[in-house]
Amino acid sequence: MNFEHILYSVDSGVALLSLNRPSALNSFNEAMHLEVQQALKATLKDERVRVLVLTGEGRGFCAGQDLSDRNVDPTAESPDLGLSIERFYNPLIKQLQAFPMPVICAVNGVAAGAGANIPLACDLVIAARSAKFIQAFCKIGLIPDSGGTWFLPRLVGMARAKQLALLGEPLMAEKALEWGMIYRVVDDQDLREEALTLARHLATQPTKGLAYIKRALNQSFDHDFSTQLDLERDLQRMAGQTQDYREGVKAFMEKRPAEFKGE
């Protein structure tokens, strides 16, 4: 598929979606949003794909909203910033969370504004050592959107969430790792390959089972204990009906590696 603002390819069960407006630190304009939507739709339809990797081209991962695209004119009537959130960011965040396969985010550089929170909606975040996360919203009078106020307290605790959101100071990749916000930090030049290696591994795993796992974990924050136990029961019921479960048990009994098909 040909896109102008993103790169998209599928190989060995892995869909690689790379934000590609490097001159604008991959910040989102409407056209890029639409292309991302289209690519995610294609990913869902493509039966070969069992893992999604999200990354960025150039030195940054994503600088959030392209402010020049929003036509912010301080002298004009106040804009409704909720519109683009309603139309683009919230659906994207919800879709990434609910994506029926693992989503890896390879944060290759600066991740600011919405760009700092999109990775948090993914399942496994690997960051380049030089990457930094900046909740830049407070610097221009806004609040962390794209799930920022939801993800941050859950990942790093309220005190650190407030520090990040109220001060807008950059959080370096190593610190983000120490705080439990991301999964791994690797040297800059190794990032893409490390992310793809992990993705290729996951692409051989029981995709449906993995999707149920992320669903259960994501929903745990909304549920009380007994509701979550009910959810586990229901998802396990569904997992038990997959072909991969049969294969997993069979391979275990036969003492051989399982060959999962994601079905």
């Binding site: 229901d234 019921r237 569904m238």
Partner: protein, 261 residues
Amino acid sequence: MTNKNYKTLVVSDVDEGVQLVRLNRPEALNALTTGLLAELSKVMDAAEASDDIRVVVLTGSAKAFAAGADINEMAERDLVGMLNDPRQQYWQRITRFPKPIIAAVNGYCLGGGCELAMHADILIAGSDAQFGQPEINLGIMPGAGGTQRLLKAVGKSLTMQMVLTGQPIQARQAKEAGLISEITQPELTVSRALAIGKVIASKGSLAVRLAKEAILKGMDTDLATGLRFERYAFTVLAGTQDREEGIAAFKEKRRPHFIGR
């Protein structure tokens, strides 16, 4: 093993007293044509007459329970055509159905689809379901209970908001507001509805029927009338063998064997 005589429905074999009826117009998100409602009425006739069927589960596809009425069909009807609308009798057929109907809703449940779902006695939905009455967007309004059953289920404010803006609500809000009784994982909606249906089907059918009637009575009469009806229905059951069996089985700590008499 399904009945092939229907164009717009897939009617499954009865399993433990429960019949599953699936709306099947995937090309139009199960939009409710007059033909579909006519077929549904036929299914209801057969289900009412059959002693094997105790409960009907009504569902659509993973994407849509039903996304509304058939707009093209409706557009062809003028004022006189609307007055003589044959659909009215089909809606009443469903209303008159004496056995429990469970709607298992996934995806879009809009307009006539939402109204159809509200004809059911119990509504459960997948977490991705959305309910709405978007008629206002077409310069019309709900015409099969969308202003009435919705009002009784969720109250005035939310009904007004939904009917006047045409904007849908999500499953979670529908649950909070009382429109539906349960939310499940979308993949399990139908099996959960069947499971509830089987529980109901295992009860005494006379008690189920009268309890359903009493609850529906309560929805459109004053409390005193409703209580009086309830008492009469309760009294009627005192003359049944199922009541004797139910109480005996409870005392003897065994499962009752109901016969519907």
